[in-house]
Amino acid sequence: MRLRWLAYPYVLWTVVFTVAPLLLVAWFAFTAVQPDGSSAFTLDGFRSIVAGDRVPLDLLGLQEVFGLTVGVPLYVNVFVKSLQIALLSTLACLLFGYPAAYLLARRRARQRGGTDLLLLLFVIPMWMNALLRTYAWLALLEPNGIVNTVLAAVGLPKGQFLYNDFGIGLGMVYNYLPFMVLPIYSVLVKVDRSLVEAAEDLGADRRRVFTRVVLPLSMPGVMSGVNMVFMPAMTTFLIPNLLGGGRYMLIGNVIERQYMIARDWTTASALSIVLLVFVLASMRFMTRYEKGNEGGGVLL
């Protein structure tokens, strides 16, 4: 432990770039600038989250369940909507990502070393700027974009892909899929081949080798994949801004608008704090499930 001083630069880094900004956000959340230019303590930010106009609660695009409409404050509705989209995108990433990670890991096992071209193709998009990639989807999905042109050419009706749940969800799944695939893949390649053989030896067919050994052993990877997709999906403002055409509101771009357009830093910071607490709590909730989280997951 004589090398403890080596950690000081990192401590400094986290203080300057993590702790200080968080404290600033908290400061703004609990203060408001008075007409005379001074700051005073206030809870208005948090109050405005639960006050505000009441709107019907939007559950998976439905505003009415069995003829019942629940009125909730505007911000709460946006929050719930963001949560739904984030959860659905995470689920979709898991459903697409797990088989992909499984296949990649199997290929890896068969090749024994070397770089897998397929894995490379999965990762290459991550080297490109997310903004560019999302713009590319705009070009594809626009009302007169490439997809609709092709559909029209083969005599199919044009579809509305942008500015709705589908477009946002697609953007999220596309952008965040690698964050699901890679942690699962890296856990799966480490699963000892002899464990699979041991399970076979004890009488497990292929399906049960998977359900009783491979799947449970890959859960740490699944957990960190879920965290790594859920967190940005819950907080993104880039994707709804671009693919939502400025009309689609998730909690991320509501906060962005409060800061950048409405200049209501108190409410924006209060929303950020609530979002942060929520995300941390849900991560905590998920990691608690895991015994011996060894999959390089986000430990909290």
């Binding site: 002899s194 041991a198 011996g292």
Partner: protein, 377 residues
């Protein structure tokens, strides 16, 4: 126990290669019910591959594996009535000891009460009562080994395959486990197929030893057979310390080597070129005599139970084990009886005139005993 009982499992002319490398060549031997059979050889001799073929993890290129007379080749591992104890245990890290052992029973949808009873009994057999709630990573190497054995025997297999199961244990633990395993095998009445590169382990535990080298069986026999009547210089060299020399049969019961004639107990064609092995513990050092096999002691090493001495006679180094110490530089005669001379056929492993074995042969054997627990693929 080995003799007279029916073969339960049999390998018939099994060949296997990986790419251009032939790893098994024409492997055939029977495994009899309730016997403890050991596949013995240096790393890379194909013993683990043979075991994996029995378990169903590898398919031979040609040849057959018969279980009670019927081919096993198209039976997948999970349907074979045998269980494996893996080299590095392969315990499931996401399950506790109880669930590891219960794994096979649960797959067969055994009633819960029976699972509890059988797991408890299996853990008792391996001396691990009360360890059920432990996690695998809280166990020592020896305990993990016992769990691996319990996990296999709880299913009541007819045959247990063990792949260097003691390779990762320290010497004292190995010795204890050797005795326990042998004892367990007798008590449970299960056929054990055991893989090891440790010749002492093989001799201690087995009813039958199959000595392999580079994918070819060199000798199949009881431990006493392979030790006392090695079939060629490789077997003699690999199983225990030995002095191996080229020799020539003069006539029945008379053989010439090291420049002398000796009486022996073998009949062979006269003037046949053969090899002989004389075990170091069979040689007695006596005062030099006229016309005897005289030499000079060049090295004396204390080994605990005995002294290991090198005696040089006419450019040939003889190894002698004795509880009586000689001094370096002493002149002595090597004395051994006719029954101590074991005659073997000539083979590609035959030594030169000074008893030096082919380099790759000696090198391989030395390497095998040096690197313990090396997976032999």
């Amino acid at each position: 126990m080995a003799e007279g009982t029916r073969p339960i499992l049999e390998l018939v002319g099994v060949n296997k290669s990986y790419g251009d490398t032939q790893v098994l060549t024409d492997i055939s031997f029977p495994i009899r019910s309730n016997e403890f059979i050991t596949l013995l050889g240096p790393s890379g001799c194909g013993k683990t591959t043979t075991l994996r073929i029995l378990a169903g993890f590898e398919r031979p290129d040609s040849g057959d594996v018969l279980f009670e007379g019927a081919s096993l080749l198209d039976v997948p591992p999970f349907k074979r009535r045998l269980n494996t104890v893996f080299q590095r245990y392969a315990l499931f890290p996401h399950l506790d000891v109880f669930e590891n052992v219960a794994f096979g029973l649960r797959l067969r949808k055994t009633p819960e009460a029976e699972v509890k009873a059988r797991v408890a009994a299996a853990l008792k057999t391996v001396d691990l009562d009360g360890y059920g709630k432990r996690w695998v990573d809280q166990l020592s190497g020896g305990q993990m080994q016992r769990v691996a054995i319990a996990r296999a025997i709880v299913n009541g297999p007819e045959i247990l395959l063990l792949d260097e199961p003691l390779g990762a244990l320290d010497l004292k633990m190995r010795k204890e486990m050797q005795i326990e395993l042998k004892d367990m095998q007798k008590r449970l009445g299960i056929t054990f197929v055991y893989v090891t590169h440790d010749q002492e382990e093989a001799l201690t535990m087995s009813d039958t030893v199959v000595v392999m080298r580079e994918g070819v069986i060199q000798q199949v026999g009881s431990p006493t057979d392979v030790y006392n009547e090695p079939r060629n210089a490789f077997v003699a060299d690999f199983i225990g310390e030995s002095n191996i020399l080229p020799a020539r049969m003069e006539k029945d019961f008379e053989i010439a080597f090291a420049g002398h004639r000796f009486a022996c107990v073998d009949r062979r064609r006269a003037e046949a070129d053969v090899d002989v092995v004389v075990r170091p513990e069979d040689i007695v050092l006596a005062p030099p005599v006229e016309g005897g096999l005289n030499g000079v002691v060049t090295s004396v090493v204390f080994k605990g139970v005995h002294y290991e001495m090198i005696v040089e006679c006419d450019g040939t180094e003889w190894m002698v084990h004795s509880t009586d110490q000689a001094a370096e530089g002493d002149r002595a005669a090597l004395v051994f009886g006719p029954e101590d001379i074991h005659v073997m056929d000539r083979s590609p492993f035959s030594p030169d005139a000074h008893g030096i074995l082919p380099a790759d042969l000696a090198g391989r054997a030395a390497r095998a005993s040096a690197d313990e627990g090396d997976p032999d693929r």
